[in-house]
Subunit: 139 residues, 3 copies
Amino acid sequence: MTARLHRLEVPTRGKGLYDITRPVEEWMSRQAVGSGLLTVFIQHTSASLTIQENADPDVVHDLNVFFGRLVPEDNRLYRHTIEGPDDMPAHIRAALTLTQLSIPIDQGRMTLGTWQGIYVFEHRAAHHRRTVVLQFLGE
Amino acid sequence: MTARLHRLEVPTRGKGLYDITRPVEEWMSRQAVGSGLLTVFIQHTSASLTIQENADPDVVHDLNVFFGRLVPEDNRLYRHTIEGPDDMPAHIRAALTLTQLSIPIDQGRMTLGTWQGIYVFEHRAAHHRRTVVLQFLGE
Amino acid sequence: MTARLHRLEVPTRGKGLYDITRPVEEWMSRQAVGSGLLTVFIQHTSASLTIQENADPDVVHDLNVFFGRLVPEDNRLYRHTIEGPDDMPAHIRAALTLTQLSIPIDQGRMTLGTWQGIYVFEHRAAHHRRTVVLQFLGE
């Protein structure tokens, strides 16, 4: 059994989805492994992960707009307001999506569907530098 | 260490939850393994996975109705409308639930709770054939 | 490869988030392992898991209040009402969050971010005893 770990730094420029499929694929192909499991884990609670359609950019736009409507920025709704009006909504949006993804690896490659891309979902308004842990476990 | 992979084809007939616990259990028992991890991964972005109560069929009915209310079909809300009024809501419903599940395997069996079933959550109105990757990693 | 499994019992006293980071860390450190994957799996469908900010207790309070507003207790909305007005909302709240978490283990420790805590999210009003399966797979 082999375990490999890498930290991917993802710069974000405000709310929205950032496609990280390519750097994840590149890291996987450099491992030159066979079968196993890839874990993608984001070390934050105001940004999250999701797998979404990679074909029409309107999809991730609409997704971000929907979450803005579902989780309003309105300080009257929250006690936790000291980090700005977008912080508590960011935590809620993260809880509604994913902190971690597990993707089966077959013959060294992710078993993603044709239209699936891996995204960091940034929920804060300011620019951030997000850390995503990639781990391969297998052989 | 051993890695086993299987693709389960799941036909769906419109929006709702489809219990796949039985075929997943059957595949696991055919592997004749001991301890490890089962990953269930759906290769789509308009259908998803969830673990839900398997006792009262009203639970999955109510869950589907709730998601219909939470994510309305209304083209005025979305830019991505070319694939029909149910497509963008399907992507959002998928983002709010799960693309992947990891279930510990102990003595060859899933450690599900008594009332837990594994479901494909179909978010499109038309009939589909969904592919779910099952992977066991362990010994 | 080694696989270790433990069942953590978590008493809950009504709706809200219960921090289990400490007992999970303690179990991991007793395993004296190197690299691998920790799976945290809750065996229920009316309680769930989430990773959230561990610094300001207002965050988990606000999160619980938001879910109360998003998924109302109103028997007219649901068919499944025989287990009380909080049961069907509990299943929906569980479907919107997580049944399972996978956390990479590096040099025997979870790769959590500085502000990340692991929580059981209880969605029922009464006191419960929840079972959380912890599994380490690695070396």
